[in-house]
Amino acid sequence: MSHDHDHDHDDHHHEQDPLALRVEALEQLLVERGLVDPQRVDALIQHYEEDLGPLNGATVVAKAWTDPAYRARLLADGTAAIAELGFGGAQGEMMVVVENTDDVHNVVVCTLCSCYPWPVLGLPPSWYKSPEYRARAVSEPREVLREFGTELDESVDVRVWDSSAEIRYLVLPAQPAGTEHLGMEELAALVTRDSMIGVRQPLSSEPEKAGSAA
């Protein structure tokens, strides 16, 4: 997920954007009242953009793929097993990990707002927050998955997890065939954010596919 590090210098591009004008006006009101320090806002944004992200979740998945005992702990108590790797905090206080197999495919959505496991995946992508995904993931998940290019056999049982309380879900994708020889780091590179939400499969190990859904 790239973003523009030169944002401090391109504010003039947003002069006509009502959201930009409005948030700037609000920030000014709060700064004038001593309630907000702009540098703390910068730091908060930077934390969520750079310290959290799907690499955390990918590390968890790669560990589960290579360590059967860890995988068992992860499925039994997701919060504790994820904390073993140093991940936890807001919007990850109780984690449940659901496993994709040959027979079961899991997909995660939040129809009422946009709940998402921040400590392992960072902040959600725009499509996850879209009304289209929130409305249709529960009623026609196979069609939604097809829009992501994911075709499932009719025999596969699709489970849709609607994050309606404080539990946050992470999908443990099935390990791609032929990747058993790879190390943790190489495996983690195959584990895309979308595969941990359940809308795509992880990347196969062919290099030309790398990065297509990260």
Binding site: M1, H3, H7, D11, H14, D17, L19, A20, R22, V23, E24, A25, L26, Q28, L29, L30, R33, L35, V36, R40, V41, D42, L44, I45, Y48, E93, M94, V96, T111, L112, C113, G122, L123, P124, P125, S126, W127, S130, P131, E132, Y133, A135, R136, A137, V138, S139, E140, E147, F148, D157, V158, R159, V160, W161, D162, S163, S164, A165, E166, I167
Partner: protein, 236 residues
Amino acid sequence: MQDTPGQEPDRRTSTSFPPHDLGGRPGFGPVPVDDDAIFTNRAEARVFGLTQMAQSASGFNTDGFRHGIEREDPDRYLALGYWGRWLSNAERMLTEGGVLPAAAVDAALAGEPVRGTVERSTECRPATARGARRTAPADAVFTLGERVRVHTTMGLEPRFEHCRIPGYVRGRIGTVEAIHDSWILPDDHAHGRGDGTQGSWVYNVSFPAAELFAAGGDHTLRIDLFEPYLTSESAA
């Protein structure tokens, strides 16, 4: 209230559900699968950071924050977009939290001075380090494998409250698959109630899609529901 499909009004096509309750609503097109970024411009990132600070300065817990977004003008809910709803909620929380007068940002944008004070008008309380997780006063009422019925009208009347029942399972029967832990009922927490030691058990309940949606489906829904949202299948 009848549970038989077809005998009650289909809430998915009705205007009587809250605007945020989108699950299963018809009429939406393809998912914008290529809209991949967390922020599409720097203004959205600013909204994210500033709204978190506004929530803190206004003294709203997470349930109160979510309820604020749910109270968006239904005609504007979708049009504002995700970050537009956050910014609108930041302004709402700041006014209800007694920090900024109503329409302060409109005044500022019009070049008018923003003066005066405002009384705190929300009952919501600041978030605590513990969040909403609390010990339940009693054992879980329902057991694994038990068939449970979801409340039909809770949180909808007399006005939309902060109720975490997705509309598409209201009145439906599901099976208890897991008993998670206990949290303050969001319906209470958003209004500053239940901050003692009272938690409500949260269950994961499964529902076959074929029983929920007019178009059916061969998939299964897995939804986390608080104990007060449920009754035993056999209860009247």
